[in-house]
């Protein structure tokens, strides 16, 4: 029963590589740039370092214009989890920080730091680490300062790939397939730096704890295969030769090629215990740990329509023109430059763009090298694209959906699994630029998702704001209600319990105040004077009192002034009453009681009016001629008021009399 299974296992073992679906085989064009060893460039006049050289957050600038920087000094440090530092590739002066053109398909400028090299190449202090024995955690965390990113083109910060820690990595695959036409930088690296690469692989093996290591190299690089085989002879590292079939260099395709295992489309290879590193990244890691050299340069293939295609070690930030010059210059019919390979690369917006961490190859293009694409014909549904698709998608369906802006449907057909390798466009008999449609649809979907997310946040914030306003309103209302209730409650308690206490306290206070007043009224400083003087003072006081000049009298002045009006009103009332009484006496027998009362009142009124009048005369300034009109008007008003009051009083008196009459009767 076990026999068939064992047999299958045996068959599997004997099979060295496993073919993936689809793929194409375009002309390789690799021989041009492998004729010469990796060359060096003279120091360029300036280096322009874009901040956006990797996937993730833009790093934070740590230098200012005019600063002198040393080779290897951090000029922008990693910001956030997914980010990479940027170092000065040489010593020199920061001459500009601002927008400059970058190698990006948009052709838009972005933040860049420009350095003017001083030509001295003075290094910052380097810190080599003993990668064989040092703590793995320390080694990985130190990588944050290295600026090393995936050099295969994806530019994903390497420290994250090493420090996943979630799933145990059992297999390490070194990607040296280099499947795209024209590109030879990895090939040349393996030929020249095989020993260092093997050291780098050992480092990564130790850092991620992989037991099984393989190097995948396409069979069109025999020298590299030979060199790597020799270098790995005494190690556990296996060199796997994969057939030349584009896109074998795609990480998932390479995993399939060397292990026969497919990484599920919604998972990363690390989740199934496999990690893939580019061969150039491994070399950069070796240099960082062995010599303390951060990411300052990379090997770039300068090929295509140039006089002498060659690979060069290029400092990041080197303008493309310098690289082209080093390759003997571009031929006259060069129309533009392509960064990356002819399958996945993009047109560079200018010859002045700098070389970045992602630049593995620059191709000078001409109409003879790359024929301008013939106009696209209608799709004939031949499904050749589906046969060529290495991801098993239905490119013709995706094309229809993308063309008609049916993004939802495109998403459903797993548009985002497309690796944009261009195999479909390459085989299309109608010359439809399929990948361009997919890129368009992808970026539209991403933009729509972002807009949707922003809208959701705005909705949430708006709802929260409305809820907050409502809550504040209610809280305010509740507070008002509580305050109103509280005021009532305190009033009630005063009424109920504290009244007598308070009244007693008030009475006591009044008594005290009175006593104080009495004391104040008495003459002061009288203890040391003779009786005669005392008598004299008493006499004077008496005279003063008679004249109404005492302190107490003065104090009363305002009160008197207030009483002025009342006194007047009283006088008017008295007059009216007197008149009334007179009238009454003439008409009827006047009751004597009333007249007596009147007489009494009159006397009182007279006494009240007297001081008031004198006071008024004293206080009020003599009316000027100008001010005459106003007092006249006042007098008129007063007269009117007096008349009205008099009328009212008369009515009242009449009513009283009538009542009295009634009671008498």
């Amino acid at each position: 029963m076990n026999a068939p299974i064992n047999l299958a296992g045996l068959l599997k073992k004997t099979k060295d590589v496993f073919r993936f679906h689809g793929g194409v085989h375009p002309p390789e064009n690799k021989a041009q740039s492998t004729q010469l060893p990796i060359g060096q460039l003279p120091m360029p006049e300036k280096l322009v370092l874009p901040l956006r050289q990797h996937i993730g957050n833009i790093p934070k600038i740590k230098v200012a214009i005019g600063d002198y920087v040393l080779k290897g000094q951090i000029i922008a440090e990693a910001e956030g989890a997914v980010s990479a530092a940027i170092h000065s590739p040489t010593s020199g002066i920061i001459s500009a920080i601002g927008e400059a053109i970058i190698p990006h398909p948009s052709g838009l400028p972005d933040h860049c730091i420009t350095i003017l090299p001083d030509g001295k190449e003075s290094w910052i202090e380097r810190h080599p680490q003993d990668w064989r024995t040092a703590d793995i955690g320390t080694l990985i965390s130190s990588l944050r300062l290295s600026g090393i990113v995936g050099l295969g083109g994806a530019t994903f910060p390497t420290q994250i790939k090493l420090g996943t820690g979630k799933a145990a990595i059992h297999t390490l695959i070194i990607n040296a397939a280099e499947c795209e036409p024209y590109i030879t930088c990895d090939d040349m690296l393996m030929r020249e730096y095989h020993a260092e690469i093997v050291c780098g692989i050992t480092i990564v093996q130790r850092l991620i704890g992989a037991s099984n290591t393989m190097i995948g190299i396409e069979d069109n690089k025999p020298e590299a295969i030979k060199a790597m085989r020799a270098a790995t002879a005494n190690t556990s590292i296996q060199v796997k030769i994969v057939p030349t079939l584009y896109p074998s260099g795609d990480a998932r395709r390479l995993v399939h090629l060397v292990l026969g295992q497919e990484v599920p489309h919604d998972k990363r290879s690390t989740e199934i215990g496999i990690q893939v590193f580019n061969v150039a990244t491994v070399l950069a890691l070796y240099r960082y740990f062995e010599f303390g050299e951060p990411a300052l340069s990379r090997v770039v293939s300068m090929t295509g329509n140039v006089e002498q295609a060659q690979n060069f070690e290029v400092l990041f930030g080197t303008p493309l023109v310098d690289l082209v010059k080093a390759a003997g210059g571009a031929k006259a019919d060069t129309s533009h430059f392509i960064m990356g390979g002819p399958m996945m690369g993009f047109h560079l917006p200018s010859e002045n763009v700098p070389i970045t961490k992602a630049a593995n190859c620059i191709i000078a293009a001409s109409p003879t090298l790359f024929e301008p694409p013939p106009p696209a014909m209608p799709c004939i549904r031949c499904a050749r694209c589906a046969d060529a698709c290495p991801v098993n998608l239905q490119p013709q369906e995706l094309y229809w959906f993308a063309k008609s802006d049916n993004f939802e449907k495109a998403h459903e057909y797993n548009l985002f699994d497309c690796i944009e390798c261009g195999a479909c466009s390459y085989v299309c008999p109608s010359d439809i630029p399929l990948v361009q449609y997919y890129r368009y649809a992808k970026s539209e979907i991403i933009a729509l998702d972002k807009a949707k997310e922003a809208a959701n946040i705005a909705r949430e914030r708006n709802e929260f704001r409305l809820a907050r306003i409502e809550r504040e309103k209610q809280e305010r209302a509740a507070k008002h209600a509580a305050r109103a209730q509280g005021a009532k409650a305190t009033e009630a308690t005063i009424d109920n319990s504290a009244t007598t206490d308070k009244q007693a306290a008030i009475a006591a206070a009044i008594a005290r105040a009175k006593a104080q007043k009495m004391k104040d009224a008495l003459p002061k400083n009288t203890s040391n004077i003779s009786d005669a003087t005392k008598a004299e003072i008493a006499e004077i006081d008496a005279r003063r009192a008679a004249a109404g000049l005492t302190e107490q009298a003065k104090d009363k002045q305002p009160a008197v002034a207030n009483e002025d009006k009342q006194a007047k009103i009283a006088a008017a009332i008295a007059r009216a009453k007197a008149q009334n009484a007179n009238a009454a006496t003439t008409s009827k027998d006047a009751p004597t009681k009333l007249s007596v009362v009147d007489a009494d009142k009159q006397a009182k009124i007279d006494t009240a009016i007297e001081p008031a009048k004198t006071l008024k005369a004293a206080v009020a300034p003599a009316p000027t001629d100008e001010g005459n009109t106003k007092p006249v008007a006042d007098l008129e008003k007063q007269a009117k008021i007096e008349a009205a009051i008099a009328r009212a009083k008369a009515q009242k008196v009449a009513a009283l009399k009538a009542k009295e009459d009634q009671s008498k009767e």
């Binding site: 696209a376 933009a447 708006n462």
Partner: protein, 185 residues
């Protein structure tokens, strides 16, 4: 004959009971139509439609009180989406409610700001930071570009800045066939 009638009657009662139970059991909370309209609206909360926000406008559309072409920030695409959802005929955007503008965020000229907090009170998404007599500033990532803060500003220190295309928000363009100019002799 009679048996058939009874069977049909019994079935009708049974199914009616099942449906009635289902209607109670699986009752949908809220008006899903309003939520679906609200999902199409851009959530700018600008009030250009004449309603005090996107949700009130969505409610008005659902109740048939408002037309579907009153949202300038939503643009033509928004009107199309609303027309599809409501089963209505597409109509061009009503010019009375304003025109579609490129997406922008408010910017406070901080030297001029007097710290009056009027813009903070006007912002529908709390995207302005500041306190009385202290400088205010816009949280650009939260700003919807509704322009509601511009009018209340007593010193006119708020301007709208159009969001420019950067490598970050750049999009691949729809593939087009370049047409070459042919010179007539």
């Amino acid at each position: 004959m009679l048996i058939a009638l009874y069977i049909m009657l019994g079935l009708a009662l049974l199914l009616g009971a099942v449906l009635g139970y289902a209607a109670l059991k699986f009752k949908v909370e809220g008006d899903p139509l309003i939520a679906r309209i609200d999902a199409i609206l851009p959530q700018t909360q600008c009030g250009q439609c004449g309603y005090p926000g996107c949700k009130p406008y969505a409610t008005a559309i659902a109740n048939g009180e408002a037309d579907i072409n009153q949202c300038p920030p939503g643009g033509d695409e928004g009107v199309h989406a609303l027309a599809d959802l409501m089963g209505m005929e597409y109509k061009p955007l009503n010019e009375q409610h304003g025109q579609t503008k490129p997406k922008a965020v408010a910017f406070i000229e901080e030297d001029v700001c007097i710290g009056c907090t009027l813009c903070i009170q006007a912002c529908p998404v709390d995207a302005i930071l500041g306190a009385a007599k202290h400088m205010h500033t816009i949280v650009a990532s939260e700003c919807t570009g509704c322009e509601l803060c511009i009018a209340p500003c007593p010193v006119d220190c708020i301007t709208m800045e159009i969001i420019e295309e950067t490598p970050d928000n750049w999009k691949w363009k729809y593939p087009t066939i370049p047409i070459k100019a042919v010179i007539n002799l």
